[in-house]
Symmetry: C3
Subunit: 251 residues, 3 copies
């Protein structure tokens, strides 16, 4: 256990956990076996590592590495072997999945689910309620190798399928779906089905015949899916109104 | 070491191994450094974790995580940092490679070789003698996010190349080959060369000019390759007859 | 700590480090938490593991695994959870990134940067000053499964984008760029932009309008980028002349 470490009430630690200096862990959070919290950024001296902050009620699963300067809100979970690097910010109730990596200076919203083996490049911005599936990668350098980073951005409620490449500076709107295996450059609007390599705008997602297991048109998905989401057991539109969320006219 | 743990004869443990409750490890199995056996499924209480069973003569390499409820037959190997999740079943002599993950409720046959960095989604079914190469991913949700899972299936003796996406519900037959980088949806028969994105049936694999290092037509491959396989040092067809295996007429 | 281990001056070890037999670690090298050095090759008996050699001033980050017989020159770095397998050789100042794997018998030059989640198959050869981006994979078996391995090769100063598949036996020249998501078979020359699936020669890279953040034509990149490179703070061409490096006429 390092110096300047504060541990909340009811925190549990697994075996062989390493906590470096300048770490705050909130109440009722659990830290799994073989985790490293406050891993030192080797670009800084040991004395200059910034505060690492993990919120309340988080679950950090085994072998995860949380670098110095990362900020995790309440109820964040990591899968086993996740890695969250320096100065990245993760919103509440979000999940960074098995073997996934947030490189530095990423911003991830609330209720995001990044599944296994996702690589999120430096300076990427991800909205709220976004789901990202395995092996997708967010890149940030159009003329490699070069210095400044130009991370992509993804709007709220958007789904990014398996094994996608999101190119530097790409911007994807809200309530959209990127099909598995797509390579996405440029700007795409809201409620768009984005697919292909290079990816194209295939039209309005909410008009397309994506039929789910109940035989219903699935998109916009929040009408049909609420597992672990704040509108669970309620109507999504009612919830959105209560929250003052302005919905597009696809609802 | 947890409660209700039974350890066979001649089992060896590396350093810093964690064994949770309700674990059975068979004879002459080795558990590598930093492994977790019986990792708790966080959807269940600590008291309700099912039995984790590892067979005889297995080799679990370092940093691997075997979740509660996983069942590994005899002679199973994992690569370093493999992960086998709840209720997944792995047949005898199979290998789950470096950093590969079997998500929950998967069924993997005998003598399967899953190489490094493969992601096998929930409810996937993989036959016997199947080889899967790096970064291939088996998905299970056609309308993400949604509840029920619809894992793909792969027949015996089939090869899945590098970086393939196997889409939800896809069915690939026996003795087939999926070319590297393919995106596979739908149903494909036996002895088919499957390639492309979207993948297409390119014809009978056994008729195609895939020439190996000995200058021979390579498929059906069991005629030409036997390393670590039960017909090693024998003729494949003789072995198949001894086993009562009904072979297709490509032999 | 195993037998026949020699540790240089000023070496630092993290927590829970495992050093197996027959390991040499050079001066001022640091070994991070949870690392395994000299991991045993399970094809050999414990007594027959070859020498594992890590040079001076290396930084082996946490959870990395260095197999017996790997040779790392001076100033090599690994990202967290890297894996370098038996008989692989890594040149000075090179980086093997987060969760990346060098399989056995690979040769990696000097000042190479392999970023996260790259899989380098057995017998691959990578020149000097090569950068490889996430999820790219180097394969080595054209007729899987078969015995002999036929790893690809990459020339000096070449860039390999994200999520590429480099097929067995592919040869890529110097000062070239492989675009993200490409599937590369066959032979490509120097200063070529290689892109697509299957990848094609799109023309001379140095003639193409890849414009960097300074508004300048970016390739050949060493003119525009020097971070952490031996010509940092100097002119690249001057440095090359000092080194006796013969440059192609694109400079």
């Amino acid at each position: 256990m390092g110096q300047n470490v504060s541990i909340g009430q009811g925190v549990t630690f697994g075996h062989y956990v390493i906590i470096y200096d300048n770490v705050h862990i909130g109440d009722h959070t659990s830290i799994g076996d073989f985790c490293i919290i406050g891993e030192r950024n080797s670009n800084l001296t040991a004395e200059n590592q910034p505060l690492t902050k993990i919120g309340n009620n988080c679950m950090i699963r085994s072998h995860s590495i949380i670098f110095s300067g990362a900020i995790l809100a309440d109820y964040v979970q990591t899968g086993n072997r996740a890695c969250i690097r320096e100065e990245s910010i993760v919103g509440s109730h979000s999940m960074i999945g098995y073997q996934s990596e947030l490189q530095g200076h990423c911003i991830v919203g609330d209720y995001v689910r990044i599944q296994s083996n996702v690589s999120v490049g430096k300076t990427t911005k991800i909205g709220d309620f976004v789901y990202i599936y395995p092996y997708s990668v967010f890149t940030n350098d159009n003329t490699p190798p070069s210095g400044p980073k130009d991370g992509p951005s993804v709007g709220n409620f958007t789904q990014i399928g398996t094994s996608c490449i999101i190119m530097p500076g790409a911007k994807i709107g809200q309530f959209s779906l990127v099909g598995a295996g797509s390579k996405v450059s440029g700007t795409f609007g809201d409620d768009v089905f984005v697919q292909g390599s290079p990816a194209k705008d295939k039209g309005k997602l909410s008009k397309m015949p994506f039929i789910n297991h109940q035989g219903k048109k699935h998109y916009p998905w929040p009408i049909n899916y609420d597992q672990g989401l704040p509108w669970q057991g309620k109507d999504f539109i009612t919830w959105a109104e209560e929250e003052g969320l302005k919905l597009p006219d696809i609802f």
